[in-house]
């Protein structure tokens, strides 16, 4: 990642234009040309600096729901359980964390009932309790990372 890449990551975390040839317009604001911006973004995604490039949808504003869930998975079963959890298309993120509750994942579903049903399926498939931690109030969501 060079200085130009850092400028792209810092400058393009939001506000990507909604118009024809949006990369051309975004590139101009960064002092680049369209082709170079597209090539650099492709490389940043390919090398994993960016998880993706595009819209961050808010499922809740479309009537859907997110539920955070946590499990205490025995170490010797961890990878197998991770595969079973990740196999559900509704599981958007899954992190291993250092705690007795060592697997934390987010289920995105169209209704709270569907989200709870997914947690129930995971409970049944793995034989491990799944703690449901839906958000009760949101105080802040944003991103202020500087590369």
């Amino acid at each position: 990642m060079d200085a130009t890449d850092r400028r792209i990551v810092a400058g393009l975390q939001g506000g990507f234009p909604l118009c024809p040839r949006p990369y051309e317009r975004a590139a101009r604001e960064l002092g680049l040309d369209e082709g170079e911006l597209i090539r650099r973004l492709a490389r940043l995604v390919e090398t994993g600096v960016l998880s993706r490039f595009g819209p961050l949808f808010n499922v809740e504003a479309m009537g859907g729901t997110y539920v955070l869930a946590a499990m205490a998975v025995p170490e010797d079963a961890f990878d197998r359980v991770a595969e079973m959890v990740n196999a559900h298309v509704e599981v958007a993120h899954n992190y291993e964390r250092e705690h007795l509750l060592n697997m934390w994942f987010v289920v995105a579903a169209e209704t709270p009932e569907r989200a709870e049903a997914v947690l129930g399926e995971i409970r049944a498939e793995t034989g491990i309790e799944v703690l449901s931690m839906p958000k009760l109030e949101e105080y802040f969501v944003g991103l202020r990372l500087q590369p």
Binding site: V9, G15, L50, V85, V141
Partner: protein, 166 residues
């Protein structure tokens, strides 16, 4: 163009857009036209729909979604606090206002295993830096906070963006 559009049409297009670009926008000169062609509509309709979704918060933002680890933010701590229920609604927004907190929520407790009801994602490049920041939060919470801990992430097991089941 059809006249007399049903209210369901816009919602259907939104849903199909989520399916089409929830994991990323095409990296081509005319991404909205490419998405429109795939969905059997036109570029202007895709752009107008995305604008409307952005305006009402159905899209939080459009742009680069960084991988924290790759940016050197290797010490990402999920800091959790056991805060007096009578105080949490007042204190939560103050914690969310710290610039190192990316998400801040109230969630249910599951005692005795999980007594914590306030969650704040704290990002820093080292664990000591995370711990300094969590002490700042703890000090802001004062006596309303009865306990706290930090859960560091060890591995990302999955991160796909949004894919609705069809």
């Amino acid at each position: 163009m059809r006249s007399g559009r049903e209210p369901g049409d816009a919602a259907t297009l939104e849903r199909r857009l989520v399916q089409a670009i929830g994991t990323g926008l095409p990296l081509v000169p005319d991404p909205y036209a490419e998405v429109a062609a795939a969905l059997g509509t036109d570029e202007a309709t895709v752009i107008a729909t995305l604008e409307a979704m952005l305006a009402r918060g159905a899209i939080r933002r459009i742009g680069a979604v960084p991988n924290h680890y790759a940016l050197g933010y290797r010490a990402n701590g999920m800091a959790v606090f056991d805060v007096d229920d009578a105080m949490v609604a007042e204190l939560g927004p103050l914690i969310g206002a710290f610039d190192f907190v990316s998400h801040c929520y109230r969630r249910p407790r599951h005692p005795p295993l999980w007594p914590y009801n306030l969650f704040a994602m704290v990002h820093a490049k080292t664990r000591p830096a995370v711990e300094t920041r969590v002490r700042q939060i703890r000090s802001r919470l004062g006596s309303a906070c009865r306990g706290d801990t930090i859960l560091y992430s060890r591995r990302i097991l999955k991160k796909t963006g949004l894919r609705l089941a069809r």
